[in-house]
């Protein structure tokens, strides 16, 4: 009987030890390797990369450090830019990466939409079928009236 009680004690304690190990491993890992893919986006140094990794806080920091939210950036995407380098606005790139948070952050710091190639974030959202992003761009970005440039045509992902 006492050995059985001890056995059940072990049975009840075992998941607690495992959970403690998981928590220790995760928190220890965060301290030792904070840039591991397990714990967050990798360290980035350009606005294009920060947006590509959905790191809105890093993108914001880069803007606070001097990057202007409407300055074009160089991006490369297998479908949207056909694997070639292309100059686009950060807002366009945020829509392309379907990063709603960075998109809203950029609008908040003054990014604008224009119906010229690479700056037509609302047209891209429409072409991608991203209705929620399109609605947010309409509400917060005041896109210009008028047709979208032809180059916006992209394959739906």
């Amino acid at each position: 009987m006492p050995s059985r009680l001890r056995m059940i004690g072990v049975v009840l304690l075992a998941p607690a030890v495992l959970a403690a190990g998981v928590a220790l491993g995760l928190e220890g890992g965060r301290l030792v390797r904070p840039r591991s893919p397990l714990f967050g986006p990798p360290e980035t140094f350009t606005l294009a990369d920060a947006i590509a990794h959905h790191d809105a806080a890093r993108a914001y920091r880069l803007i606070r450090e001097g990057q202007r939210p409407d300055d074009v950036i160089v991006v490369n995407h297998p479908t949207l830019t056909a694997g070639r380098q292309r100059f686009v606005s950060p807002l366009w790139w945020a829509v392309a990466m379907r990063d709603e948070h960075t998109m809203l952050m950029l609008l908040g710091v003054g990014a604008t939409i224009r119906h010229v190639e690479g700056r037509d974030a609302d047209c891209l959202a429409e072409a991608l079928g991203a209705a929620a992003m399109q609605e947010l761009l309409r509400r917060h970005g005041a896109p210009p009236e008028g047709p979208c440039p032809k180059q916006t045509a992209v394959t739906r992902q």
Binding site: R4, L5, I8, L12
Partner: protein
Amino acid sequence: MAPTDRGAWLAIAALVAAPVVAAICLTLWNTPVPISEAVALLEDVSRKPRLDFLVPDTSYYRPLFHIVLSTIWKADLSLDARLAAIRLLQIVPVVALVGLFLFHLRPRSLLEAGAAAAAMAVLIGSPGFRDNLEIPLSYTIVGMPLALAVWHLLVAPPRWWHTPAVLAMSVIALGFKEQGLAIVALVVAAWATRAQGTTRAQAVSAVLLAAGYVAVRLAWHSRMATFEQAIGFGFSELDPSTATARFGSFPVAVYAYTALATVANVVFSEPTSGIFSIVAAMTRGTAERWQFIHLVSSVGLTVLMAFWGVAAISRARQEGWTDESRSVVALVLTLAACGALSFNYSRDRLGGMATPFYALAAYYALRACAQRAAALRPWRFGAAAAGLLLLAGLWHVRAIGTAEAVKVTALRNQIEWLTGLPQRRREFADRPVYLSILATLHAQGTAESRPRPTNYPRALIGLFSPANVQSQ
């Protein structure tokens, strides 16, 4: 067991609980103070003199919370020091609650240490605990350790200072939120079960305190809205105006539903805010693994506790009350108090005051079940041990889920700062104090090095927390 074992098993139970608790506290320490609620609360305490918060002219009467927040915010300290104090107001009660819980249980054997560790996971993994970890809303998390401390004194051998301490802790809990009234239910539970540290005078004082509090609140604020906030009903949420139009002529039935929803949330993890969201997800076929885990672990434990509770009360009638059987009464009365106090709208956090007592009862139920299982035939013993392993394991998954949930909140707070600032500036353009607090807190809200949820491998996605939060 030798007397020295007491400390050893207590230390072991504390050691295995420590990493998850430390993860939660560390995340809270690094969490940005959010825009929502925090800035408006700081605006309130900046504009009003401290003692004005004692006037009960609001539906949300938390005078001590506001006075403490005001004292911190107006202190002649750096911004970092004041923000640290606000975070500590959330962290210290968490550590106190966990410490008091283990101290009260004082495991003295391997079995008791295992049961205490599982009960700790029940405490940490419960929605009533998880939903009270939102900085700076420390209303109920302050009351939870106070309730446990009161219960500890009530069942301990009497000392001259116990009664003033019980009353003082009741007043503090009540000053942080009306849910502190649940402590009165505890005093009544202790008196009704003839706990050695309770007297009739103590019970009468506690009931008078509660009656006085309710009378003052009603006298000052006699006309309250039928529904203060959105309510959950069945599978959907109704905003206050819709709810008033639909149920305003006879709200009692919905009040009863809402009160029961809070109770059910503590014992079954469903519904949440009055909405049967897990059941709805299951019927739609969209339920995630964490939802199954929450429902199965809660239902399994509550069923086990129901069998144990009935047996414990039957035994108490014949052999007299023990700490074990008293915990059944404490749980039932605190659940009733939490339900009654949340009649107007149900939220997970409103079950917070009953949560330590759900976990306390879980400890006794698991221990009793283990003792009973030990006497079974071998194959039945094996099945019972496997069942206990599964149940304890599921609750530990939930405890890790709580550590993840606070990380999700930290990230959401940061995203709110990154994306919601321009809108807030426009919306509150005519409130200079609000705008100046926004400007003051802006840097801490947008700092890069903030906690983020773990990007678990695909096989573990949706196990600890909703899958969609990982891609935020």
